[in-house]
């Protein structure tokens, strides 16, 4: 799609799920090998128009996520490009074995779209909140993992996912009215992190919706006299190791994610830093090892320390 002010505004308004529905329909209209699958969450996945306009490329398998992943793997083996959608928690945790065997082990290029990962549907409780999907998906070989910063980047990830002959996990965070990180078009490369802002004291590496909050946190820190670098790690696997190494000239490296402090971006960066002599101190900001109390998105981000103010306060403690 063309990236202009109007489209950026529209996609932001639609949020991550709506963006998925809109972009996948555009792509599938041009390529009838693209198939969308849902497990009884058509409108939630933004697929209502897709289902109406492209009925031959749309499959609703009912409330049976494991079967959906297997079906998609069978389709992928035959050359189709299936996009599988569900709540991130159901898709990754419930279907972990199907993903391990049918997607990872057989390296079948299905595209897993984890909707509303992180805290955005927090009012629905810990069954729907998803804070451990990256930990699980990262440990399954062959998967490419995208975690886009905003809706324009989500669109770019969907497009890339449809083009590459590899299995993909697309982690969608945020909600309708997602903040805009990218106001203009830019170059998106798989596995190549983007430095949004350069700085020399503190390096913040963030992913998903936390990129926007990290940029704001950086602004607060700069007002206090610190020079802060902010990196958008939109691809969690393969990880941009070079970008992480380049952060080692700063005094402090901070990772920020809407995910457990175990197994996500923070762990991935720590795995790299552990191999570097005299690497700077690394602060991992994410959710703690606990089940989250149900609450709305804004409330949860505040409660669990993921707003710009709470992020900058936490960094200042170091």
């Amino acid at each position: 799609m063309e990236i202009n002010t109007q489209n950026i505004r529209t996609l932001s308004f639609l949020g991550s799920c709506g963006t998925f529905g809109k972009i996948i329909e555009e792509l599938a209209t041009q390529n009838n090998n693209i198939i969308a699958l849902t497990a009884d969450l058509c409108s939630f996945a933004g697929l209502t128009r897709f289902a109406q306009n492209l009925p031959n490329q749309y499959y609703n398998v009912g409330i049976a996520e494991q079967n959906m992943v297997g079906i998609a793997a069978g389709m992928a083996k035959e050359g189709l490009i299936p996009f599988v959608t569900s709540y991130a928690s159901f898709l990754t945790l419930r279907c972990a074995d199907q993903i391990n065997v049918n997607v990872g082990y057989m390296n079948l290029p299905i595209k897993l779209v984890g909707l509303t990962s992180g805290l955005s549907v927090g009012i629905l409780g810990p069954t729907h909140i998803c804070l451990n999907d990256v930990a699980l998906m990262r440990a399954i070989p062959n998967l490419v993992i995208f975690s886009p910063a905003d809706c324009i980047e989500t669109a770019k990830c969907i497009e890339k996912a449809s083009e590459i002959n590899a299995p993909v996990y697309l982690r969608l965070t945020g909600t309708m009215g997602n903040p805009v990180v990218y106001k203009d078009d830019y170059n998106f490369e798989i596995g190549k992190a983007i430095t949004l802002k350069d700085g020399s004291d503190i390096a913040i590496i963030s992913t998903g919706t936390m990129v926007f909050n990290s940029l704001k946190a950086a602004k607060i820190l700069e007002e206090k006299g610190f020079s802060v670098k902010v990196i958008n790690m939109h691809t969690l696997k393969p990880l941009d190791v070079t970008a992480i190494k380049e952060c080692c000239s700063c005094k402090l490296i901070v990772t920020v994610e809407e995910h457990s402090i175990y197994g996500g971006l923070g762990s991935a960066v720590a795995e790299v830093l552990s191999n570097i002599e005299n690497s700077p101190k690394h602060l991992i900001i994410g959710t703690q090892d606990e089940y989250i109390h149900a609450g709305d998105y804004k409330y949860l981000l505040e409660s669990y320390g993921l707003t710009p103010e709470r992020i900058s306060d936490r960094i200042l403690e170091e």
Binding site: A64, Q66, G70, A73, G74, G79, M106
Partner: protein
Amino acid sequence: MKMVINNLRKDMIKMTYAAGKTGAHIGPALSLTEILAVLYFKIMNFDPKDPTSESRDRLILSKGHGVIAQYAVLKELGLIKEEELQTFKTNNTRLYAHPSMNPEIGVEFSSGSLGQGLSLGVGVAIALKHKGNNKSKVYVIVGDGECNEGSVWEAIMSAVQFELDNIVIVVDKNNIQYDDFTKNIISMEPLEKRFETFGCKVACVDGHNIEELEKGFKTEHNKKPLCVIANTVKGKGVSFMENEPKWHNNVLTEDLYNQAMSELGEG
């Protein structure tokens, strides 16, 4: 055909013996022998000279632990060499204890974690129709114990919902699962009625009778999946293995190996 089937069983016994102290899933492979032989030699459109041809019928061994039966058939077809059979379960072999996807030798998908092959088959069946391939069929072989897995029934429901008349579910109903007879673990009876109630066309056959199997696979199944329930005997063909739960996976000593080979040698 009888001679071929006997040779398949002998190859399975040889592989089990070669596997040494870890043994092999010989019981659930022996029960599969005629099912696979009839599919590969009489029913399926499968050219071993072109195992990835678009026009081929696809076979998915969802009960992956029975794979030595498939290796034996693939050897018969010339896709696996005699000497390679003896590498079964050795380090760096292509012949794992559970199938590892390798279309070049006719292994369509990996399996081993039960209850997943039918979903793959549904996806393949949909894709074939999507591509306009209205000739190829998908044969998915499950075990009756495997039918404990809920995902099998998820897949059946979708195959029925999508009116997939290009998929055939084959149940190797040998009545024994890992721990014991299925009736003592989780009984799947009445299996035939369950498949019918779920919306499949069902054919029940003697799973060791060539003619019955052939007829079963040719059952008309307009706009719905076909389920062929093959009543089999676990360990079929070797007296001390037949209908014995302990031969789900077991080790062949030299004496037992000789006995098994001599029993089969007469066939």
